[in-house]
Structure formats: structure tokens, C-alpha cells
């Protein structure tokens, strides 16, 4: 830095407190969690453990199904402290984020503010620092993470109140926020990677939060492993960058990106590897399968990690490395194409899911696809914009569904029903009577995601669709060739796919609302009377999120709209992000003619029409009253069954990848090669051969003097022969 950065002496220098606060929360809560459960064993662990027999098994049994099934388990020993620390650090972090935001708004900054903490890996020419980087993009992310994170923490106080793992839950949640902040604040790819893996870890821990259920533990593992496939791509991308640019700092990468030939194979390869990472983290085809399974975790987790923040990390990373993607059109088109296909594909599955969280999960996958379409076509602002609004309404949807599930649980719990599924929509119905607040806010979120103006989703989604259309009419992407097809054609296809996905989104969301809140209640007579609205600590955050979902669009009002209706300032977010992604956007958009205003208005109309059509279609065609509770439902057939089973993708993966790898590892590598060839054949085989030869030799040692003499003479003849030859 030649001169002091404008943020140097401001609140921004406390930026390291942002991740540190949740880290402190994690440490405190973790310690409390451990302190509450741990009981050191006797000095000699192998000593007879019979004396503990009476308490042991019952203790274990009581915890076997932990989330609140049993008769009012006592609250966590340190519940009060945890309730203060866990959300408390989030409130502080959000406050700090706001303060820094305020400073930034006042500062004129052209370069990111780098806060170097210490030298992390100084190895020759690789000088990696533990450094944080603050710029407009990361500020947006920080606000989303701390803000929504804070709300979800608050919600969790209510949602998790009866869980014996209360402290552990908040510890993990805090740790997640810490990692996520590290991810978005990292000044180099490696620090980002730390956060990247950290959020994966927390995701793993939280999905498997109720680990005594094998399914939950499996889901956690799956999430982590699939993410690791992505991480592999991320790592290779880092290696290639370092090998070719000699740096991993974002600032330096941006400075040296010019060394790459635009559109060259190298930069494209780097971007594609990076993409693999993004697809893993953000659950895109082909790595999306973990996300629906991840719904095994507590619902606030789904809201925070698997909807609002972590899964958007891929989108963030593409935006963060836009300097590379913008010179790799093929990679960018891949981003967009995969995003569009995913958006549609996940939406089809969402149509036939019965588990309320699964619907939302596929919806998330689908919406993430949208974001990728946005960043893929170089509309980085649009992608980030959708990321933000999606964070609002999807968090709301998840928390709302959490509220419903909470009610269902309590109801089932009250009548000691342990068999029925509290998340299956066929067991719900007519919930609006019991949960009016939840009902209202959920509708807000539904309209937002469906793209009904003026809710947040409308603006962000429309922005993306418009940009796709615009790019098709002239940009580096349109002029590139993608697998032999012209870029423009691909962009049109993307546009159509995205539109189709929008239609399906409206349909399945309406379906979900209908089945859950409308029509007759199917919970069962006994349980019905116990259904009730959630406490204020849960509904409070819902309301806040509803407001954000409703008005989030104001963050980035499109010109087309503001020209027609003066709602407020135009394109706030775009201007805000301009220093970060502006250059990249321009590079991609180079040569594009400005879309005519009339065309834009038509496009707007088409989007609205599709959303409305979807809602109307679902509203008119679906009959909540004809549903029967899950236990009575008939298995579906035909294409419905295919959708219900998610196109059998999990099964296909299982048969084509997982099973063969395991079988090869066990059968070929271990049993055949390791045990068979190396050990038996070579190691033991040579030993056995030596012993056998020894045995043969000892048989020659027959005890007959004649034999001995014979050998002696033969030996003598040979030796003489040898010498005679030597002499001869």
C-alpha cells in the first residue's frame, strides 16, 4: 500500500472482530456443551465398568431420540448462558458490520481494504498471510450473514429450547458464522478456502446434529463428501493459479489476470475447476444431491446454512473471481447453462415432494441455479442481488416451515405419537387456522419467490432474465463458441430454461402453501387440538424477514421500473458493487447494445405473466381436500413416481460410482492386490517358497553317507571343471 487506505483508521480496522465474535461464542458454548455432558472416567479405563450399569443404559436410551420426544426433558443446564452468548455474539457482530458499513458508505474506496493479521504460510515465493479483505462485495455478504444469522439465532432460541444438545447447537451455529465470515472476508483464496471448508464442517456437524439416527449421520457425511468433490476442484484451481500467476491473493490475481490470454485454455481450465467447487458448495448439477438430504438437520440450520448463506458461497466465489471468469467465456457459459438446467431440473422434483422441507430444499437448488445463471452471464450484480433477496425469502420460508414443524411436533408429542411424520404435508393442511402469523409471512415469501411484483424476488429474478436476454444480443459470451454451438444460442436456451423454471417455481410453491395451510387439517383428531402458533421469539424474526422479503427489491430497482413508477433510487446495489465487479461485467458485456426499453417492458410482462400463471394453475388444479394423511396415501406411479424419487439420481450415483468404487477397493485393491498379490503371493509366498526349498534341501540330507559322498564328488568335479576351464 503506497498510501494509507481510506478505511485504515476507521471502524474497519476492527474487521477481525467480525469472525472473532462468533468464534468466541463457539468456544464458550462448546465448553458449556462439553461441561454439561462430560463425566471423566475412572483412572483405569479397563477396570470393571459394572458399577455404572444402572445409569448407563437408561441414560443412553433416554437420549436415543433426542429432539424433544420425551416427557419434557429438563432444559439444558446452561440454557440461559447459552441463550445469551450464542445470539449475543451475533447481535454484536451485526452491530459491528453495520458500523463498518456506515464507514464504508462515507469513504471513497477504490481498492479493497486488506487487514493482515499474521503470516500464515511463508514458504519461499508462496507468502500466504492470514489476511482479511473488505470491499463492497464482502460487505454485502457480511451484512447478509450477520443479519440473517442473527435472526436465525434468535429463532433458534425458541425452536431448540427443549433439545438436550442446546449448547452444542449454538456452538456449531456460531462456528458456522465464523467460518462463513472467514469465507467472504478472506483476502486470498486460501483463507477463503478455510472458511469454505469450515462451513462444510459445520454443515456436516449440524446436519448430523441428531447423530444417533443413522440417516442423519449419513446425510451429514454425504453433504461433506459431495462438498469435498467440489473442494477438489477449488484446490486444483488454486494450484493452477499459483503455478501460473505465483499468487493467491485476490488483489494480485486481479492485477496479474491480464497475463492470461483471454478465452485461453488455461484460464478456462482454472475456471472450470473452480466451478466444480462452486457447484459442490452451491448444490448444482451434478453435485446437488446432498442438499435435499441435508434437511435432516434442525430447521434453523436449513434456513441459515442451506438456504441463506453457505450454499450461496459458490455464487459469491464466481463473483469474487469475476476477473477470471470474465475472460473465460466458455467457463462463464458453463456456469450459466448448468445453473439454468439445475433451476429447471430441481423445480421438477420440487413439484412432487411431500416433505415440506424437501420442497424448499429443491426450491433452493433451483434458485441457486438462477443465481448461477446471473453470475454466469456476467450479470454479477444480478446474481448477488438474487442471492440477497433469496436469503431473505428462503430463510423466511424455512423458518416458517420450521414454525409449522415445531407446532406439529409439539402436537404429536402431546399425544405421544412417535410414528407420524411431522414434516409431511399430507399430515398437515389447514394450518392457517392455528398459525395465522406464520401463514401470512409464508405467503409473502411465496409471492416473493414466485416473482410477483413488488416482492423482492420479482426484481432480482427479472434482473437475471433480462440480463440473459441482453447478453444474447451481443457480448463476449454471445460471440464465443460453446461446444460447437454459438454462445448466443446457448444464452437463448438458458433464457427459456429459466423461464420454465420460474413457472414451475410458482406452481410448486403454491402447492406447498395449499397443502400446508389450506384445506382441511389432516393431523389427526388428538393432535389437532394441540396445534398452536409459535412463541414470539420465533415469530419475531419471521416478521422481520417478511418485511425484508417484501421490500428487498428496493435494493436494486431496475431502470425499466423506475422509469415507469418512481419507487426509489435506481440500481443501488449495482453502483455499490461497481468497484468490485464492474470491470468484469463490462468485459463480458463488451459490444452489447443496450436493450430497447420496450423490449425490456415486454420481458417484464412475460415474467409477471408466467408467475401469475403458475400460481393460478396450481391454485385451480390442486385439491387439498382430496389429500389423505401420509400413512393412508397410495404409492404414486409413472412419471409422478420418477419425480417423487428425484429422477432416481441418488440411485444412479450409487450404482454407477459409489458401489463400484467400494467394490473395487474391497475386492480388487484390498482383498486381491494387497492381501492376495503382495502379501500372499510375494511376501508369504516367498517365505513359503524359501521354506519349501529348505525342506527339499533337508530331504537331500538323507542321512545316507553315500548321498553325501556323491554330492561331494559332484561338487569336486564341478569345481575342478571350473578351474580347468579357467586355466584352459
Amino acid at each position: 500500500m503506497q498510501e494509507a487506505h481510506p478505511l485504515a483508521e476507521t471502524a474497519a480496522r476492527f474487521i477481525w472482530w467480525l469472525p472473532t465474535l462468533p468464534l468466541i461464542g463457539f468456544l464458550i458454548n462448546g465448553a458449556l456443551a462439553l461441561a454439561a455432558t462430560a463425566k471423566p472416567g475412572p483412572a483405569d479405563p479397563s477396570a470393571d465398568h459394572g458399577h455404572d450399569q444402572s445409569t448407563g443404559p437408561s441414560h443412553a436410551a433416554s437420549d436415543s431420540h433426542a429432539h424433544g420426544d420425551d416427557a419434557h426433558p429438563p432444559r439444558h443446564r446452561f440454557a440461559r448462558a447459552v441463550s445469551v452468548v450464542g445470539p449475543g455474539v451475533m447481535v454484536l457482530a451485526f452491530g459491528l458490520a453495520l458500523a463498518i458499513f456506515a464507514v464504508m458508505r462515507g469513504a471513497e474506496m477504490h481498492a479493497p481494504y486488506i487487514n493482515t493479521l499474521f503470516s500464515w504460510m511463508p514458504v519461499g515465493d508462496l507468502q500466504l498471510d492470514a489476511a482479511l479483505q473488505l470491499d463492497q462485495l464482502s460487505m454485502v455478504m457480511v451484512l447478509v450473514i450477520t443479519g440473517i444469522g442473527m435472526l436465525i439465532h434468535l429463532f433458534s432460541i425458541g425452536y431448540m429450547q427443549d433439545d438436550p444438545g442446546y449448547a452444542r447447537f449454538f456452538a456449531y451455529l456460531n462456528l458456522f458464522v465464523f467460518s462463513m465470515l472467514l469465507l467472504v472476508l478472506g483476502a486470498n483464496m486460501v483463507v477463503t478456502f478455510v472458511g469454505w471448508e469450515g462451513v462444510g464442517l459445520c454443515s456436516y456437524l449440524l446436519i448430523g446434529f441428531w447423530f444417533t439416527e443413522k440417516a442423519n449421520a449419513d446425510a451429514g457425511k454425504k453433504a461433506f463428501v459431495v462438498n469435498r468433490i467440489g473442494d477438489f476442484g477449488f484446490m486444483v484451481a488454486m494450484f493452477m493459479l499459483f503455478a501460473n500467476l505465483g499468487t493467491l491473493n485476490y488483489v494480485d490475481i486481479a492485477a496479474r489476470a491480464g497475463q492470461f490470454a483471454p478465452g485461453g485454455a488455461l484460464v478456462t481450465t482454472i475456471c472450470l475447476f473452480m466451478l466444480l467447487g462452486c457447484f459442490g458448495k452451491s448444490a448444482q448439477i451434478p453435485l446437488y444431491t446432498w442438499l435435499p438430504d441435508a434437511m435432516a438437520g434442525p430447521t434453523p440450520v436449513s434456513a441459515l446454512i442451506h438456504a441463506a448463506t453457505m450454499v450461496t458461497a459458490g455464487v459469491y466465489l464466481v463473483a469474487r473471481t469475476s476477473m477470471l471468469f470474465s475472460i473465460a467465456p466458455v467457463a462463464s457459459l458453463t456456469v450459466a447453462l448448468v445453473g439454468a438446467v439445475t433451476a429447471l431440473f430441481a423445480a421438477t422434483i420440487g413439484l412432487k415432494q411431500w416433505d415440506i422441507k424437501k420442497v424448499l430444499a429443491y426450491s433452493t437448488v433451483s434458485q441457486l441455479g438462477y443465481m448461477f445463471v446471473g453470475v454466469g452471464v456476467g450479470a454479477y450484480t444480478a446474481g448477488v442481488f438474487h442471492l440477497v433477496t433469496h436469503a431473505f425469502f428462503k430463510a423466511l420460508l424455512f423458518l416458517g416451515s420450521g414454525s409449522v414443524i415445531f407446532a406439529m411436533h409439539r402436537a404429536y408429542h402431546a399425544i405421544h405419537n412417535h410414528s407420524d411424520d411431522a414434516q409431511d404435508m399430507r399430515n398437515m393442511g389447514g394450518m392457517k387456522r392455528y398459525m395465522p402469523v406464520t401463514w401470512v409471512v409464508m405467503w409473502v415469501a411465496t409471492l416473493a419467490i414466485a416473482g410477483i411484483p413488488p416482492f423482492a424476488g420479482f426484481f432480482s429474478k427479472d434482473e437475471i432474465l433480462g440480463q440473459v436476454f441482453a447478453r444474447a444480443h451481443g457480448s463476449t459470451l454471445a460471440s464465443a463458441t460453446y461446444l460447437g454451438v454459438s454462445g448466443a444460442t446457448v444464452l437463448y436456451a438458458i433464457w427459456i430454461l429459466a423461464l420454465a423454471a420460474a413457472l414451475l417455481t410458482a406452481i410448486y410453491m403454491t402447492r406447498m402453501m395449499l397443502y400446508t395451510f389450506h384445506g382441511p387439517n389432516r393431523t389427526g383428531d388428538g393432535a389437532q387440538s394441540h396445534l398452536a402458533e409459535a412463541p414470539w421469539i420465533m415469530t419475531g424474526p419471521l416478521v422481520v424477514l417478511a418485511i425484508l422479503s417484501a421490500f428487498g427489491g428496493w435494493l436494486n430497482l431496475p431502470e425499466t421500473v423506475t422509469e415507469m413508477i418512481p419507487l426509489g433510487p435506481t440500481a443501488v446495489l449495482e453502483h455499490w458493487l461497481e468497484p468490485v465487479v464492474g470491470g468484469a461485467t463490462e468485459r463480458i458485456a463488451a459490444g452489447s447494445a443496450h436493450t430497447a426499453a420496450s423490449t425490456e417492458q415486454v420481458l417484464l410482462g412475460v415474467a409477471i405473466a408466467i408467475a401469475v400463471a403458475g400460481i393460478a394453475l396450481a391454485w385451480t388444479r390442486l385439491r387439498p381436500s382430496s389429500l389423505v394423511p401420509k400413512p393412508l396415501a397410495e404409492p404414486s406411479t409413472g412419471f409422478q413416481k420418477v419425480l417423487e424419487n428425484k429422477w432416481y439420481v441418488d440411485e444412479i450415483y450409487d450404482v454407477s460410482v459409489v458401489k463400484p468404487v467400494y467394490a473395487t477397493s474391497r475386492g480388487v485393491l484390498w482383498k486381491f492386490f494387497d492381501v492376495g498379490v503382495i502379501d500372499t503371493l510375494f511376501a508369504n509366498g516367498s517365505a513359503a517358497l524359501a521354506r519349501f526349498l529348505g525342506w527339499v534341501g533337508s530331504q537331500v540330507q538323507s542321512g545316507q553317507l553315500g548321498t553325501y559322498a556323491w554330492l561331494l564328488v559332484i561338487g569336486a568335479v564341478l569345481v575342478i571343471r571350473a578351474f580347468a576351464q579357467a586355466g584352459g
Binding site: G706, W710, V713, I714, A716, V717, I720, R721, A724
Partner: protein
């Protein structure tokens, strides 16, 4: 070393040589140990004759006295003592294949050793032949010519043979002695 030998000398040399060879072959093929021992005596005696012809009269005498005489007598004595003329002891020669194999090995050995006689002509040692009556007379007669190396050059070896014989005496006494009551149990 192409010395000239009178025909009579050559004749006798070959005669005794052939006798020795034939007797040796007969010796190894006799079933009876007694017969074998006697044929061996024939071999030794023939060799003694050859020793004389090779100017080693003293050795020849010792050969007859000690070897053919004393040692072989001991052999015969043992054979008699152990009464080894029984049938079971006689059927001890190897079977046909064993003999054929032995013959083959023998041929191989002979083939290798045959080169020796050729080599004898190429001995490039320039030590003058110190044989013949004159040489013997020079070095002190039949006995004297042997005494010189034995008691001068090979004094130590000579003394060593006494140790060797001592060992043999102790050994054979210890082995042949009747068991004492200590090791009788």
C-alpha cells in the same frame, strides 16, 4: 624331460602299473571285505614296485612294511573281528544305476585328471632332476637323500607327525576302551 628309458624298465613299469590298476578295479568290485583287502594289498605292493622304479627305494620299503603290512593287517583283523562275511553285509554294493552313475562320475573325473599327464610334459620347472644313482650317492645314499629334507626342511612336519600319532593313540584307546561303570547306565 624326454629321458631315455631302457625297454626293460619301461616294460616293468607298465607291467606293475597295469597290475596295480587291475588289482584296484578288482578290489572295488569284491563283495567280500577280506578279498577286497587282499586285492588292495596287491595294489600296494605293485605301487611299491613302482616306487623302486621311481628311485624311491626307501618309500617302497616303508610302503610294504607299514602300509601293505601293518595297516592292511589291521584292516583284515577288524574285518575278521567283526565277522563281516555275512550275507547281509555282502549285499552292500549299490544297484545297477548307482554303479552306472558312479562310472559316469568316475569318467568325468578321469577326463579332468587325464589332462594332468599331458600337463606333466609342460612343467616348466627348472629344478634339475636329482635322480639316478649318482644323485643319490651325492646326497648320502637311499636313506640319506630322504633324511636331509625330512630332518632339515621338514623337521617340524616330522615332529608334528608324532603329535598326530599321539592323538590317534589317545583317540583309539578312548574309543576302543571298555565302558566304565560311570557311563554304563
Amino acid at each position: 624331460m624326454n629321458e631315455f628309458y631302457p625297454l626293460v624298465y619301461t616294460f616293468h613299469f607298465y607291467l606293475f602299473g597295469l597290475v596295480a590298476l587291475a588289482a584296484a578295479i578288482v578290489f572295488v568290485t569284491r563283495k567280500s571285505p577280506v578279498a577286497a583287502a587282499l586285492w588292495l594289498v596287491v595294489v600296494m605292493t605293485s605301487l611299491a614296485a613302482l616306487y623302486v622304479m621311481l628311485d624311491a627305494e626307501f618309500v617302497a620299503v616303508i610302503q610294504v612294511l607299514v602300509y601293505a603290512g601293518a595297516i592292511m593287517v589291521v584292516f583284515l583283523f577288524i574285518v575278521m573281528l567283526l565277522n563281516l562275511g555275512t550275507l547281509s553285509e555282502l549285499g552292500e554294493i549299490r544297484g545297477k544305476w548307482g554303479r552306472i552313475a558312479a562310472a559316469l562320475v568316475g569318467l568325468a573325473l578321469v577326463a579332468e585328471l587325464a589332462a594332468l599327464s599331458r600337463a606333466a610334459y609342460s612343467l616348466r620347472v627348472t629344478v634339475p632332476a636329482r635322480s639316478g644313482p649318482e644323485a643319490i650317492a651325492e646326497t648320502g645314499g637311499v636313506i640319506g637323500s630322504i633324511a636331509a629334507p625330512m630332518f632339515r626342511d621338514y623337521l617340524l612336519a616330522f615332529e608334528l607327525t608324532s603329535v598326530l600319532l599321539l592323538v590317534a593313540i589317545i583317540g583309539s584307546v578312548v574309543l576302543a576302551r571298555k565302558r566304565s561303570e560311570h557311563d554304563a547306565g
